[in-house]
Structures are given as C-alpha cells and as structure tokens.
Symmetry: C2
Subunit: 365 residues, 2 copies
C-alpha cells in the first residue's frame, strides 16, 4: 500500500473527534501502576474487541459480541494491577452514572442508566515493590475526571496504565499513541499500553522491529527525544552491552515476567460492531509487527475497536484502508511507546528506557 | 528471543516426521492453478485452525473446534480455484478411503472409515485465462499419490496450490516452506501458499518486510537463486521502476485482486487440539510480519496447526518456544515463497517474480 497516510493534528487517540483520554497513576510506597480511561461521547461509541493473548484480564467483552444487545460503550478502562485492576472500571461506571451517562434502560425512570465500561488490564504486580499495590475504583473515577478536564491529555510515556509497564523483562514500557488521516479525511488512531513478554527490539541488531512503519513526524513529539532525532542501527558494542535488556527470555527460553499489551483503535467513521471487531483484529497485526513474540500464553493481549460515527458509514474501500491503517497506527503507537518510556528504579528492580539503553540508535539529522 | 533456532534438514514441512507433501497442478489451456496435499500419518494428526481473513473458503473447520468429537485429521488440502477448489478434498477423501485411512466409525465394519480432510482455498480464478479452469476432485487424489511417492517433495516455487498465486496484484506468488529445530530437538515447520492482497515488499524501499526474520541457510536452497546470494536494499532507480508491482492497491486504494494466503504449521511434539489452534494463531502473527496489509476482507487467510505427536507432550516452556517459532517459520516460509517464485505470462496477464523485478536486491556475498 502506498496510499498517503499522514498523522493527525496531535498524533494521538484524541484526534478522533469525541474521544477524551485521562490518566491516574501512583508511584512510590510500593506503587508503580495506574489507570488510563478512554472516555466516549455521552451517546457512547460503537465497539468491538479482539482478545488474542493467552492470559487475558477483561470485563464486559462478552457484551461486545456483535450478536448481543448493547452496541455502544461509554468508556474503556485500561489498567495495571492484573485482574485486581479491573476494579478501576467500577469507579469509571460510578463517575458516568453520576452524570447520567450509560445504557438507558428504557422507560424505567430518569437516570436509570447502566454505564457500559469494557476493561482490560496488564500484569505489573509487584513492580513498585508491593504486590498488592494495585489500582482501585478511585483510579477509574480520577482518570475519568482527568479525561473530562483535558481533552488532549498526554498519551506518550510512563503514565496511567503504562506507569508500571515493561518490555521483555528489562526495558521500560509505557503508553504510546499514533493517528492517521486517510485521503478522504477519515481519522483513525490508536492508544496502546506496551507491556510485553516479547520485545520491541531485535536483539540481534538493537533496532526496533516496527520502525519501518513510522510516518514522517512520528519522532517529533516524543518526550525526552531531541527535536530532529532519527532512528539508525545502534553501534555493535552498544548492542552487545544492552542486548540482555531486549531479550524476553532467559537462557532456557523461559519468559522473565508475565505481561500483556492492551489498547484501543478508534475511528470517526461509522462502523458496525462487527467492523469495530475487525479493526481490533487488524490492530493485532500491527502488534505482531512491533513485538516479537506476541500473543503468548503469558500475554493477555487485547484490543478494543471503537467508532464515534461522526462520519460515514464506511464504504468497502474506506474500510479496506481503515484495516490497513489500524495495523499501522498500532505499530507506530508501540514504537512511540518504546521511545517515550523513561528509565525507572524501584525496590523491585530497574528498567531501562530504549533511548537510555541504545543511545546511539537516536541520531540527530 | 535469542533462543537458537536452526533450520531442519530440508527446511520444509516434511522435517516434521510423519508428514508428506504432494502437488498436482495444471498450466495452459486456460489453467494456472493446482492443489497441494499435506498427508498425515495413517493414524492422523491432531489439528486446529485459525481463520483470520475476511473472505475464507474452507471445509471441515467446524470439526476442528476443540470442543467437538474428532481430534485428528488425515490430510489437509490447499487448493487454487476459490470455493470450486474445495472439490480437491473430495478426491483426497476417496484416495484415503480406498486405503482404509480415516476416522474409524467403531464397530460398524471393516473399512468403515470417514477420512477427515480439512481444506482451504486461494482465489486464483481466471489467472490462466479461463475462469472455470479450477482444480477438481482428481487434483486431490493425484496430489495424495504424489505425496505418497515423494516424502520430501519440492515445497518452494510455483507448484501445487501456489501455481496461480500472486502478491499485491503484480508480483508472482507461490509456495514456500521453512522449518526450525528447538534446542531440545522439537521440530516445527510451515508450508505456506503466498497469494495476498497485500505485499511482501515494502514499496518505499523494495525490501522484503519479513527478511529480518530469516535464519542462516534460508537462501541456500531457493530455486533460481545463485548459491551464496544475500539480500540487500535494492537500488533506488529499480525501486522506482518496479514499485507498481509491489503496490497492493490502485491510486484509489482499491485492491487489484482478491487473494488469500493459506498454509499449515506443524510440529512433532504432542499438542492438544486447543494448542494446535494456538500454533495456527501464532502463525498468523508471522503472516502479519511478512505481508502488509494482511487479513483484509479480500483475503481468506487461514492456517491449520498440526501435531504428529511423535514427541512430547509439550511442557509450558516448550509450548512458549513453539509459539514464537510458529510465527518465525511462517514469516520465513513467506519470504522464501517470494524469492522462489518464477515470472509468468498467460492470456490473462503477467506477474513478475521478486528476483526479476528487484534483481539488485540479491547480492552475491
């Protein structure tokens, strides 16, 4: 495909009109975790999901089966805390309910709504030093409030659900986002929480698997990167020195941690819930291009597909381009997450950022 | 992952002990199509499937649901001819029945078997010049006979189900295979029929998306390639001249053909049918790394996972390595298919091989 894709205005999920993103995180005192909320417009967004990892932690995904009643969701929560972190969705539900937002249970009374909040979690237990230091209900409510306050919240780096994220056991993970505008103006974007058993770095060369898929401008707004930075193969001695950080497995092949990469792919064009699911499926192809191996039994990799239906409906050609672009925005979001992460040390360990581990990979043009 | 994977003895599917591969194809008089059969041992192979494309053509895939009765298959047919090509499985069934191979319907009498032959097809209609020139039952029977006669049949190039295969509308596709041996001796291998809406070639650079995943030795046995050839980025003027061939879409983004990439991932370690399905899922990740875009609505991308259960069962660590290796063998098989294809011209059109279209990509070391 050589259809021109260009990043949207902010190159984040909120380029999709109607969506807002907010975070709440806690570090220190045993914590290194958080919650990210994707807040939909009051009328909700059409939604689908594709769960591809072998160890998922989710809620409200059966509801998203296209054959079921409800077709719109009011928020999606992405959290650390493994299955404990599903509690964040409770807080998001309560926050939405208090504002009258939710599935209207017709005719039974004013405010009789049930907010629909699918959720997925990543495994980050114990990374801050204390196993039980996980996001609770208040994380979901506070992340909703943050989303409401800031429609273009930061979506790159170690915040929200990406606070405790890691890659391959040794590198720091985090949140990444990217957007693309199709030639007809349709917008598609992804917000990903990169936390993988596999690696985004080819341990043989130190290069990022997904770098080939970047668009011009994708490196311009990465926190901590010099303006005008470009990617190149890192120096061989540096690769030898830092290779261990990019290896997802010990010498016996055993994964060094549980993990899970989760996220949202969204568009402003009107889709059926089945098409939303297809977008999520294509998003997993983008994940496969950025993370190797991926979708293992120790990852709960899950992607939600959303449509705000501000344009459309999507004709078959637009949908074809959207499928392609869904993969591309996910790959780009994961590359950007790798580059935006910041090194961290806690009582439980140290995780280096890719720019710290492979500094010579970042050249100034 | 830096676990040492090495190609097996033949670097094809038949490195998995107990499997045989055979082909039957027809070219000329309007034909450019064929059938490939993966013949299992008489007792069958454990099997699962993952259908990921939006336009699949399959049979006996519901049977492969792990909750269903039958867990072993006796052959898999891969065919050209779109849904017409499913007929090849009839011929394979008859061939197996005549030899007493199949699911034994207990106690009802000698030879009362039902051969279990899942099948998938690619879209290649009309490529030889005549729409209706598709594989019939005899293709399945003849491919079975070929498999029985030659346990290490050729598995690279334009033969069997790959005869009429193409890539991105302009490049020639075909069949490719690759195998890997894990440190403990477990073997895993893939046989893929590369016929994609998307491209295996990055149209911006002319490079093969999946080349990064090749193992030493993967280029040594490719028909038509000089011994010692290595891959490098092709010359810019060549890329400009041949880019059109690697573009999966016209200027409006519309796919230039229907397609579908199908194949088999197999191992000699004992797996449950659920694990066979997981191997097929991981195979699709390998497909995503070699073909962009992939799993579109105009591809019926399908992978079968087989276990001959000559070793094992797989412990969790072995299965983790197998998932990783399943993606890798599929990517490598698709790269090798791209390199092994031969240019062809029929009354319906011309398709160039990658080595013909991008000759400077192949350097002599």
């Amino acid at each position: 495909m050589l259809i021109e894709l260009t990043p949207g205005a902010t190159n984040t999920l909120t380029d999709v009109e109607g969506l807002r993103v907010g975070h709440h995180q806690r570090t220190g005192e045993g914590y290194l975790t958080g919650t990210t909320v994707v807040l939909c417009p009051p009328e909700g967004a059409l939604a689908g999901v594709d769960v591809r990892g072998g160890g998922p932690g989710t809620r409200e995904t059966d509801l998203l089966d296209p054959s079921n009643l409800v077709d719109r969701v009011h928020a999606v929560t992405l959290s650390g805390g493994s299955a404990f972190g599903l509690a964040a969705a409770d807080g998001a539900m309560r926050w939405l309910f208090e504002r009258g937002r939710g599935f209207d249970v017709h005719g039974t009374g004013e405010g009789h709504v049930v907010p629909i909040v699918p959720a997925a979690v990543i495994f980050d237990l114990g990374r801050g030093g204390r196993w039980g230091a996980t996001p609770g209900q208040e994380f979901g409510a506070l992340a909703c409030a943050d989303a409401e306050a800031a429609s273009t919240a930061q979506q790159l780096g170690c915040l929200g659900a990406g606070t405790g994220a890691q890659v391959a056991g040794g590198l720091k993970g985090g949140i990444g986002a990217a957007s693309a505008v199709l030639p007809d103006g349709t917008v598609i974007a992804a917000l990903m929480v990169l936390n993988a058993v596999g690696s985004t770095v080819d341990p043989r060369t130190g290069e990022l698997y997904g770098a080939r898929h970047l668009l011009p401008g994708d490196l311009d707004d990465i926190p901590g990167l010099a303006r005008g930075a470009t990617l190149r193969p890192p120096a061989a001695d540096e690769v030898a020195r830092s290779r261990e950080l990019a290896l997802d497995a010990g010498a016996d092949g055993r994964p060094r941690t549980l993990a899970t990469t989760i996220g949202v792919v969204a568009t402003d064009v009107a889709l059926s819930t089945t098409q939303c699911r297809r977008l999520a499926m294509s998003g997993h192809d983008g994940m496969a291009r950025a993370v190797v191996p991926v979708h293992t039994m120790y990852d709960g990799d899950t992607i939600f597909g959303l449509s705000t239906a501000r344009r459309g409906p999507a004709d078959p050609l637009t949908f074809h381009l959207l499928q392609h672009a869904a993969g591309e925005v996910v790959t780009r979001a994961l590359v950007r997450a790798t580059l935006a992460a910041a090194s961290v040390t806690t009582p439980a360990g140290s995780w280096r950022s890719y720019p710290d581990a492979f500094p010579s990979a970042l050249a100034l043009a």
